[in-house]
């Protein structure tokens, strides 16, 4: 007998806000979080813009000594987890923490620490490399530190599937609770890739927008003028909880997670399958897992990164899965405002689905002024839309051909299936 899994809390550290209120206000007002990169000197870079987290003070969330031992990606995750726990009204002392775990996604882990310590090695030799280099850098340490900071002793792992990492994390966390192996999971993603080496690598791939003179207009999914994604950072964490567990403690239930699908293009290291087959398969699998006909879906938060091929092929895949209904449902890409948080994107966009359901409000795709003829769905251009939503879906696709889709539904006490 499968358990039902509900979402009871969200925490955010993002380019559009470091608390839930600002995050939602900005996303539904069409405010971009993109600006010139301030973290390092961008001389010589083809892309000099990013969506940076602003005004983040680790000491607001983490003990000073502990914060020193964390790479930025871990600091974001611990901070967002603390906010999510608070948002869920969760008294950790009152739950069985052996049955509470953590699954976070991260595409690259502590690359800032890696770069700094590599410089130490080159400049001052092996004897000066920090003893906390390895534990700061390894990609699983955000999950590990969330477990340590909150004393959660259940399953604790990290998923790494590039830009699908946190969608896979949430899918795995959902399944663990659904199978009855945990009461509660902290899940989502975290990423801090705004470093000289990482940005240079993405620049060399020609993956990033070079609309440097118009940062707020640079991420323009589905628009004809799109020219690549805008790199971003942050962490969004959700509290997933077995329904009865949430009801028994009188928790707010924000939404229910009902389906998870995953697939692989098995095609190319970075380019998407030219027919969008992997993406379509992922969406179909998620709908089948939720026991839903495609016609039930009201809204898709698209992967929509603002790349030429990606947006076109996702559109093609949506049409393939939804047929006529593809014209009736709403699709939007909040990456138009947040930029692309890579391994943390799926967490952020799952939170968007939850908040869209809860507030009956769809955040827009901004900068959509001249639609690409090959991108011809209803992308909720430029202005948020007030409408009731029962079923939403979020897509995440990553280098390596990873595809993951989650189904988030309005919570109702009685469900048929």
């Amino acid at each position: 007998m499968f358990k039902r899994v509900v979402i009871t809390g969200i925490g955010v550290v993002t380019p559009v806000g470091n608390n839930l209120e600002n995050f939602w206000e900005n996303l539904t007002s069409g405010i971009s979080g993109v600006g010139p990169i301030t973290r390092f000197d961008t001389t010589g870079y083809s892309s000099t813009i990013a969506a940076e987290v602003k005004d983040f003070k680790p000491a607001d969330y983490i003990d000073r000594k502990e914060a020193r031992r964390m790479d930025r990606f871990t600091q974001y995750a611990v901070a967002a987890s603390r906010m999510a726990i608070e948002n869920a009204g969760l008294d950790l002392a009152a739950i069985d923490r052996v049955r509470a775990g953590v699954i976070l996604g991260s595409g690259v882990g502590g690359i800032e620490t890696l770069e700094e310590q590599h410089k130490v090695l080159m400049d001052r030799g092996p004897g000066r490399v920090s003893p906390i280099f390895i534990p700061m850098m390894i990609a699983n340490m955000a999950s590990g530190q969330v477990g340590i900071n909150f004393g959660l002793r259940g399953c604790n792992v990290t998923t790494t599937s590039a830009c699908a990492s946190s969608a896979n994390a949430l899918g795995d966390a959902f399944k663990i609770i659904q199978r009855g192996q945990a009461d509660l999971m902290i899940s989502g993603g975290t990423e801090a890739p705004l470093t000289p080496l990482a940005v240079a690598g993405f620049c060399s791939m020609k993956a990033l927008s070079t609309r440097n003179d118009d940062p707020a207009g640079a991420s323009r999914p589905f628009d004809k003028g799109r020219d690549g994604f805008v790199i971003a950072e942050g962490s969004v964490i959700l509290i997933l909880e077995e329904m009865e567990h949430a009801l028994n403690r009188g928790a707010q239930i924000l939404a229910e997670i009902t389906g998870y699908g995953a697939s692989c293009d098995a095609y190319h290291i970075t380019a998407p399958d030219p027919e969008g087959k992997g993406a379509a398969q992922s969406m179909r699998a998620a709908l089948a897992d939720a026991g839903l006909a495609p016609e039930k879906v009201d809204y898709i938060n698209a992967h929509g990164t603002s790349t030429d091929l990606g947006d076109k092929l996702e559109t093609m895949a949506i049409k393939e899965v939804f047929g006529e209904h593809a014209r009736k449902l709403a699709v939007s890409s909040t990456k138009s405002m947040t930029g692309h948080l890579l391994g943390a994107a799926g967490g952020l966009e799952t939170a968007v689905c939850v908040l869209a359901i809860k507030n009956s409000l769809i955040p827009p795709t901004i900068n959509l002024n001249e639609p690409d003829p090959e991108c011809d769905l209803d992308y909720v251009p430029n202005t948020a839309r007030k409408t009731d939503l029962a079923v939403t879906l979020t897509n995440s696709f990553g280098f390596g051909g990873h595809n993951a889709t989650l189904v988030i539904e309005r919570y109702v006490a009685e469900r048929d299936s």
Binding site: K65, E66, G127, R128, S130, P131
Partner: protein, 77 residues
Amino acid sequence: MADVFERVKDIIVEQLGVEPEDVKPEASFVDDLGADSLDIVELVMALEETFDLQIPDEDAEKIHKVGEAVQYVLDHQ
């Protein structure tokens, strides 16, 4: 002496996240200041950098208290 103590104290406060008034000569890094094995390695490295020293492992293993660290620096500078 006082100068070396102050500089050592600054390093300890920064790295261990402790209050300056707790950093006394008789304070043990592990028992009083909450250091773990990684902290000790980091502290020894910081002492080496700050005072331009080489501290061999066998010497580092004998440094347990703040005052011992200060004395080591004074003896080897």
